[in-house]
């Protein structure tokens, strides 16, 4: 039995280590969410969807005290928000996910109320970069089978030594538990702490995938494009000469088959740039140059 005893104690010890940096975030009407202490000078990391308002925010600290917090910035595309509280806190220790393998035991931690709560699971899948439904770039796909109880969003995924592997969010996908990896958090927090927001490209169109004409499909080896179902007045799309009913099938050197392909092109670093594009209009392929705007 000693090995089970040892395992239980190791799990509890990892939870205890991480708990010193795990906080409660009171920023929405119904249930509090969780947060993680990012820096000793008071930056708190949490999930954007758990921060429903911009002010009257409060954070429950590990010592039981509750302090006022201000919003530093938020990135809806990766579901990250950063808050600031006054005081000196214990920052979390972060590790990269390079050593994480399918089958590893991991714990999800949350502090929806006073005490830290934990659930145990295994790493289900680890793979490369992906994009959230809102178009945010996440460097590592990290899926686990931990159960995320209400209020666990903004909490931590931890490994054997109590170090943080990332931040859990229940809003990134339905039906599975996904974790934002350390590398992505570092990038997003750095941007939010400096600019208060993450720049995103903007066209001002609604679109839906449609099948390309057979001849074009054969020529390109591409089945679908995006038909523009709305072009906002005065938007970058309109200014660039895009029309309602155009089918966009190529932009910035990349094929556009579905919405994700377009979202991938609309990254923050492209704001202000002109990119070449090809659209199908009245059965003819035409070249256009599109200047990418910035989403407010």
């Amino acid at each position: 039995m000693s090995v089970l005893h040892d395992l239980s104690n190791d799990l509890a010890s990892a939870v205890k280590t991480a708990s010193a940096s795990l906080v409660r975030v009171e920023a929405r009407r119904r249930m509090s969410a969780s947060g993680i202490v990012w820096s000793a000078d008071g930056l708190i990391l949490t999930s954007n969807h758990g921060v429903e308002r911009d002010d009257n925010l409060r954070v429950g600290l590990p010592d039981g005290s509750v302090v006022d917090a201000t919003l530093v910035g938020r990135d809806p595309t990766t579901d990250v928000a950063v808050l600031r509280v006054a005081g000196t806190l214990t920052p979390a220790t972060w590790v990269e996910t390079a050593d994480v393998q399918v089958g590893h035991l991991v714990l999800a931690l949350g502090r929806p109320e006073g005490d830290v709560q934990a659930t145990l699971g295994v790493v289900s899948a680890v793979s490369g970069e992906w994009r959230t439904m809102a178009g945010g770039r996440v460097d590592v796909y990290l899926q686990t089978d931990v159960v995320m109880y209400p209020g666990f969003s903004g909490g931590a995924l931890i490994g054997a030594d109590g170090a943080m592997l990332g931040m859990n969010s229940s809003s990134l996908a339905r039906g599975v538990s996904l974790t934002l990896p350390t590398v992505t958090l570092k990038r997003v927090v750095a941007t939010l702490a400096t600019h208060g927001r993450v720049k995103r490209g903007y066209l001002g169109v609604s679109a839906q995938p449609v099948r390309l004409p057979a001849a074009l499909e054969t020529q390109l080896g591409q089945e679908s494009g995006l038909m523009l179902t709305a072009v906002e007045s005065g938007s970058p799309a309109e200014t660039s000469g895009l029309h309602l009913g155009d089918t966009l099938y190529h932009i910035a050197g990349q094929p556009v088959r579905q919405m994700d392909d377009l979202m991938a092109v609309l990254s923050g670093d492209r704001v202000g740039q002109s990119v070449p594009a090809r659209v199908l209009r009245g059965g003819q392929s035409i070249d256009v140059s599109i200047t990418i705007g910035e989403r407010n």
Binding site: D6, Q101, V102, H104, V122, A125, D145, D161, V176
Partner: protein, 209 residues
């Protein structure tokens, strides 16, 4: 820290890496895909009947090959199907038995939930047999565990801590409850449906590992 947590992680990921060599994807050409497990090295795959509902199937091997598959036996009552693919010297999964399992033992299930390939889920065994609550009593030898099966896990292996096949993932009955057809039922199925044309060495192919 005793270090047992880290040792377990290393043992679990090593064991899963080995078993994944025998886990295939079963595609029916339309929506989604199920999983399957290489039972015999010369191209015998075990999966669910509901994964092999179409006549035209393809099997994607871990080495990247995608081969046409033939359904050689199918039994909806037991939700099992045997597929044949034109490949030889494939890595097979070692066979265990569900009859010696005990409640509380650590088990894992592999497959492709929601299309995420080669994913793992784990939990403890709830029980084995027919007298489990909310399970259709007409079908015996279920292996029931508190893990998370999702569409795409069907037909993949449920395994013990030694990486041996104990069941074929078949369904979820609620949040956090996964059910597999026991490996013993799968052996009976293969013996009954292929027995006339093949030998016990194929059915008990653990010896080939």
């Amino acid at each position: 820290m005793s270090g047992v947590y880290a040792q377990l992680n290393s043992a679990l990921s090593g064991m899963i890496g080995s078993v994944l060599r025998s886990v295939v994807q079963v595609r029916d050409g339309s929506r989604g895909a199920g999983a399957g497990t290489i039972w015999h090295r010369d191209g015998l795959i075990i999966t669910n009947a509901h994964v092999a509902a179409n006549r035209v199937l393809q099997v994607a091997l871990p080495d990247g090959r995608v081969l046409d598959a033939t359904v050689i036996a199918r039994d909806e009552a037991r939700d099992l199907a045997a597929l044949s693919i034109g490949a030889r010297d494939l890595p097979t999964i070692p066979l265990g038995s569900a009859r010696t399992l005990q409640a509380g033992q650590w088990v894992m299930a592999l497959g492709h939930p929601w299309g995420v390939t080669n994913a793992a889920t784990g939990g403890v065994l709830i029980g084995v047999g027919s007298n489990l609550p909310d399970i259709d009593l007409a079908r015996r030898d279920w292996v029931v565990a508190d893990l998370h099966l999702r569409p795409g896990n069907s037909g993949g292996p449920m395994i013990d801590v030694n990486g041996r096949l104990i069941g074929v993932n078949t369904l979820m009955t609620g949040p956090g409850v996964g059910v597999a057809v026991s490996v013993d039922t799968a052996k009976d199925f293969l013996r009954e449906t292929l027995g006339a044309t093949t030998t016990d060495s194929v059915i008990d192919s653990a010896g080939y590992v």
